[in-house]
């Protein structure tokens, strides 16, 4: 208890960045922090930064949801729709819930922080200059939007192609400064939902997988016509197969996302919010993509992170062994 309380000192600059920069909270705004009993110290830190900012802050604590994507309790749902800004430091994500969607439609700026840790407020990705990185992120997003074909390959053995025809990219800048906007700092990424059924090739996942953590035995995913047909490797491959199987939904195996990490301060930590943001990594996700321009609803979304590959859009190198060429 004591050690946690003193850690508040170290966490405060990170919390203040979330409040002052990422959400641009203004004096007198109604801020709601939705948290669960596993993330109270982070919630407390953000609340302190809100008080320092002069906002009217309310912290609502619930019991952790059983899995990602479950709706919060009805009193919290109602409160979210009455807020100007909602922070969601929770152990299980409520980013993709009707509650978050409803709050955004009512104009709330939402900052989702699923699985955030005290350490993530103290150092690493949170130290990025989010405003400076915004332009780069939007440029990469535009490049994805304009491309019809993407190819990702690496020395480790990744070699996959997919169609992006007609799809619009999204820029997750870590900033949510406009009414109804949404962000998940310290993650910064540009991503897109590839056309379903078009991805073919092999993905060698050698960095991290969401819900599993850092990878010591690379996982080999064989993709045919947009679907993962075989998943091979060691312990991590077994866990991934199990995770996808437990979704009990054939769409869980669909290629859902191509994303490029764009946070220069992020490093691999085994936590999704930071891992998928590592500058120069690419992530390919399986499962749902309906909330960012795709058509798949699978009940799960698993990101697999590839260490510094090369990315070509319509034959033009955008990322070369992890170095941005844009």
């Amino acid at each position: 208890m004591m050690s946690t309380d003193f850690k508040q000192i170290l966490m405060f600059p990170g919390a203040r960045k979330l409040v002052d920069v990422c959400a641009a909270v203004q004096q007198g705004e109604k801020v709601l922090i939705v948290t669960d009993v596993e993330r109270i110290s982070v919630a407390k830190s953000i609340a302190s930064a809100c008080v320092a900012r002069g906002a009217e802050v309310v912290v609502m604590i619930m019991t952790p949801r059983k899995v990602h994507g479950i709706e919060p309790p009805a009193p919290i749902v109602a409160a979210m729709s009455a807020a100007d800004v909602v922070f969601e430091p929770t152990s299980k994500s409520i980013a993709h819930t009707a509650a978050t969607q409803g709050a955004r439609e009512k104009g709330a700026r939402v900052i989702t922080l699923a699985e955030i840790t005290e350490e993530m407020l103290i150092s690493g990705a949170i130290e990025a200059d989010f405003e400076a990185q915004k332009q780069t992120t939007e440029r990469v997003m535009e490049a994805l939007s304009q491309a019809s074909k993407a190819r990702v390959y690496s020395d480790a053995g990744t070699e996959i192609e997919m169609s992006l025809e007609g799809r619009r990219g999204r820029a997750l800048t870590g900033l949510a400064c406009e009414r109804g906007s949404y962000s998940s700092p310290p993650n910064i990424e540009a991503s897109i939902a590839p056309v379903e059924g078009t991805a073919n090739g092999v993905v060698i996942v050698d960095a991290s997988i969401s819900g599993i953590g850092l990878i010591s035995n690379p996982v080999r995913i064989k993709v045919q016509e947009g679907v993962a047909r075989a998943i091979e490797g060691g312990e991590e491959a077994r866990k991934l197969r199990q995770m996808l199987k437990s979704a009990n939904n054939p769409y869980a195996y669909y290629i859902a996302e191509l994303g490029i990490g764009l946070n220069p301060k992020a490093s691999l930590k085994g936590s999704l919010l930071e891992d998928e943001a590592v500058l120069g990594t690419v992530h390919i996700a399986l499962g749902s993509n309906a909330d960012f321009g795709g058509t798949i609803r699978a009940g799960l979304h698993v990101d697999s992170i590839i260490w510094k590959p090369t990315l070509e859009l319509d034959g033009k190198v955008i990322l070369e062994e992890g170095e941005l060429r844009i």
Binding site: K30, V58, M62, P75
Partner: protein, 323 residues
Amino acid sequence: MKQLLMMRGAKKLMENNTAVKPGEKVLIITDPEMVSIAQALAIMAYAEGAETVMAIMPPREFDSQEPPETVAAAMKMADVIFTPVTRSITHTQALHEGVAAGARAIVMTAFTEDLLISGGIEADFQAQKPICEKVAQLLEEAKGARLTSDAGTDLTMNLTGRKGSPLTCVADKPGLFSPMPNIEAAISPVEYESEGTIVTDASIPYWGIGLLEEPITLTVKGGLITDIRGGKQAQELKRVFERPGDPNVYNIAELGIQLNPKCRMCGIMLEDQGVFGCVHIGIGSNTSFGGKIQAAFHFDVIMWYPKLELDGKVILEKGQLLI
């Protein structure tokens, strides 16, 4: 470790006073000064299988200030509401709308850890409920009340046409709310008609005054307090009245019969207002008791064991109910 001692009181609030059922949405509204109490309640609500939410807001700046809109919105969606807060949100639109939407609410203003451990909380609320309702009914049926005491109180009040309010501490049906643990039967006398003298000798649990070191004598003419006499605490009270510059603060607003056999006079509002056989006179606003006066504040002065007559019949004497 004190939390352990609070669990018995928390359990009683869930099971006895509000009858929380598994799956119900329990909302505990608190502020940073009161989180230990809120936590004890949350632990017990969770143990009862309720969908438990704790909402922590900045302390209100004054009593009856509305809670933040986010909290107000949450209140409308709750089955049961507890409010361990430093400043009262009892008489707010937010609470009234929450209760109107079907919530059961227990208001716990200026509550303390100790109040959840012993004293009034130990009462058998269900057993006391019919007594409280009976006294409220007698108040409602009476035309006039006379309150006298050895200390010098002698106050007559017109109760004609006024509704009695039983505050039973039990909120086990949708739309019920009660403070805790002050079991009381209250009524608002007809405005501008009370006459006589109030000698308060027990407690004024507001404005930091608390237990009284010497009695304070309040002269009442035409339903308003016209004179305040006594020692140092009387001077403090005088300043409290003068501060808002509002003539309505002198209004005789409420007659409250205190009915919790376990409450002890200790200087804490909700506990002092429950001490069995004592009576308090509420001063200032009376709108929440069916009256018409809106004043800058409402507070109570408490007296030890007076005699209460309703239409000439003695109802209460020497700390004993005679009904």
